[in-house]
Amino acid sequence: MDAINLLIEGFSLAIQPANLIFAAIGVFIGTAVGVLPGIGPALTVALLLPVTFKLDPGGSIIMFAGIYYGGMYGGSTTAILLNTPGESAAVVTALEGNKMARAGRGGPALATAAIGSFVAALVATVALAFLAPPLVKVAVKFAPWDYFGLMLIAFVTVSATFGSSPLRGLTSLAFGLWLGLMGLDQLTGQARLTFGVPQLLDGVEVTTLAVGLFAIGEALHVASRHLYKPERPIPVKGSIWMTKEDWSRSWKAWLRGTVVGFPIGALPAGGAEIPTFLSYTIEKKLSRKPQEFGSGAIEGVAGPEAANNASAAGTLVPLLTLGLPTSATAAVMLAGFQQYNIQPGPLLFTQHADLVWGLVASLFIANVMLLVLNLPLVGLWVKLLRIPLPWLYGGILVFASMGTIAANPSVVELLLLSAFGVVGFLMRRYDYPVAPAVVGLILGPLADNALRRSLQMSLGDPMIFLQHPSSAIMIAIATIALIAPFVFKGLSQFQHDED
C-alpha cells in the first residue's frame, strides 16, 4: 500500500511540465541515437552529463531514463528496415523483422515492435516498482555456476533453433566462439589470438560482427544476384497496420518476452542479448505457424522486442538497489546520480524515496511518449523501402561503415567489418545461418568466464556444478533440451515401425 502512495507522489513529480519536457527530449534523442549504429545510448548520456549538471537531479535522471528506453527502441527500427542492428540486443529482431519488411510487411513489424516494447516496458516497470528489493536478494545469489547453467541452456536452445541443418548451425556457432576467444582473457589478463594487433586486445565488437554479417553480407549478396535477376523495389502489401491475426499472434509473445526479459535483465551479469535469443526460441517452439520462421514470422519480432525492453527495465533493479551498473548506459546513469551526491545502493530506497518513485513514474511516461512518437513514424519509415535497391543497399553500406567508425575510429575496425561482410556473403551463398555466429561471440566469453570462475572457486572440482541445486537443475534442462529431440524422433520412428 505504501508503494502505491509513493508511486502517486512520484507521478506528481514526473508530471510537472518541466519534467515532461525532459522526458520528451530524452525519448526523442534516445530514439535517434538508437537508430544510428555506433552512437549508443551510453555515449549520448555521457555527452549530456555536463549539460544536465545545472538541472535538478529529478529532471536530469528523468531525461536519462528517456534516452535509455528510447535507445532500446530505436535500435530495432534499423534492424527491421535495413537488416542493420543498431545494438547487439536488436540482432534477433533483424532475423524475422527484416524478412517481414522485405515481404512488404514492414509496417506490422514496426508496429508490433513498438507496441510490444510498450507493453513489456509497462509490465516490467511495474515489476521494478514492486519487486526490486526482494528480487535483488535472489539475483546476487546467482553464482558463476548458475550463470554457466544459464549459458548452457542458451547454447543448446539457440543452436537447435537457428540451423537449417544442425551441422551448419554448429559450424557457424563455432566461428562465433572462436571470435569470442580473441582479446585479453579477463581472468588472467593474457592476450589470446590477437596476432600482435593491439586493437584486437579488447576482442571483437558484437555490433561490428552483426553489422558485417547481416548488413554488408546482405548487400553483397543482393549485388551478386542483381545481374541475373534485377529485383524490383519492395512493395508494401496490405495495410501498414497490424491485422487482427497479427494482434492475436503478437500479444502472447509480448507477455512471454517480458517474463523472460525482466528477470534475466535484473541479474548482475544478465544483459539484454540472452533473453532476446531465448524469447525467439520459445516463440518458434510455441508458434502455430513455425514454418513461417525464417521467412518473416511476427512472433519472432514481437517476443524478442518485448524481451529487450523488459530487460532494460530489469537492469535498473541492480542499479537502484545495489548501485551496480550492469550496462554501459547504467554506468553513466550511476555517474549522473553521483554528481548530485546521491549514491544508488541499499539506502537509496529509504533516503531518496521521492527520487526513485519519480524515476519509476517517469519511466511510465517515457514509455507512453515513445509509443506516441513511434507509431505515427511507422508510415514514414516504411516509405524508406521504396528507394530503388541499388540506392538502398548503397546507403546501407555507407550507413554501416559510418556507424562502425563512429563507435571506434580505427582502421582495424573497418577492416574487420569488411572481412565480416565477405564472410557473411559466403555464408549466405553456401547456406550457413549467420545468427549462431553472433550468438557464439556474445555468449562464448560469458560461458568461458563463468566456467573458469566456478572452477577457480571450487579449486578445480567440476562437481561444483551439480552440488548446487540451482545450477544442477539448469544443466539438467539443457541436457534434456539437447537429447529430447533425438528421443522423440526415435520414439516416433519406433511407433511408425509398429504400425
Binding site: A143, D185, G189, L322, A328, Q339, L347
Partner: protein, 322 residues
Amino acid sequence: MRQFLKTAVCLAALAGTAFYPGVSTANDLELTITAPAGAGGGWDSAARSLQEAMMATGQAKSVQVVNVPGAGGTVGLAQFVGSAKGAADQLLVAGITLVGASISNNSPVDLTQVTPLARLTGDPLVVVVPKDSPIQTIDDLLATIKKDVATAIWVGGSAGGADHILAALITKAAGADPSKINYVAYSGGGEALAAMLGGQATAGVSGYGEWEGQIKSGDLRALAISYPEPIEGIEAKPLKAQGLDIELVNWRGIFAPPGVEGEDLDALKAAVDKTVKSQQWKDIVKARGWTDYYAPSDEFNGFIASETERVRAILTSIGLAQ
C-alpha cells in the same frame, strides 16, 4: 533522422556552453583530452570533470573529450604517444591501471614516455569480507590466508589492475606465496560486488566509493583501506595503521604528449594547476566522492617512475609479467 541528430547534438553542445555564462577570456587554450577508456568509466568521468572545471574557471576556451577505449588504456596511450607528439593542445587522462596494463600487455609504450602535468585524484581501495564471515579483523584475514592460500578466494576488478595488486601485497604480507593467490577477476567492482554479497568469496577488493553503500548498510564488513592516512568519513583504518607496511592509491593524473616543452608546457601546467586549485574543481571532486591527491608536475614525474618499478615488481611476483 541523421539531420535531426546533428541538430540535437548541436543543441546539446550549445546548451553546454550556454550553461557557463561569464567565462573569462583570460586563456584561449583549445584543448582535447583523450580518455583511454569507454564512456562511463573512471578515466572518462575524470576527463569530463576536468573539461567542466577548465571551462567553468576560464582556464581554457574549449575542451573536447575523446574516448579511445581498449586494452586497459594501452591502445589510447599508444595512439597518444604516436600521433599527438609535440602537440600542445592535447592532453591524456591516465592512472595506475594503465601502469599495470602497459607492463602486463608488454606494451611498447608506457607512462614514462609522456609528460606528466599533475596528479589529480587518488582513491583508497577497501578490503572487505561478507557480513556473515567469521573474519573480523585484518589479522584474521592474514591468518586465513597463511593457513591455506588457495582456499582464500579473492574477488575484485580486472586481472593485473590495482585491486589484484593490493590482494597480492596482502597475501605476501601474510607470509604466503603471492604466485599462489586465488584471485577471481571480474570486469569491475560492480560484478565483483554481486559475488561478495552472494557469499561466494573470502574477501574482496574494490574502490571504496564503489562499495560504500553496502559497507554503510552493513552488508559488507570493511577491514582496512589502502590509503596511507585515515580519511574523514571512512571508518575503516588504513593498513599502515594496522601494522602492515602497504599503501596503494588508485591515482589518476593528467599528461601532455611527449615533446611538449618550454612556453607551451608552462602554459598547460599553469592552466591545469589553476583549475585544480579552484573551488569548482573541489566541488566536483567532493560530489564524485573522489579524494584529492594533487601533486605538481615535478613531483608527479618522480612518482610515475617509482610507481612503474613498484607495479612491475608486484606483477612479476604474481606471474603476470616477466
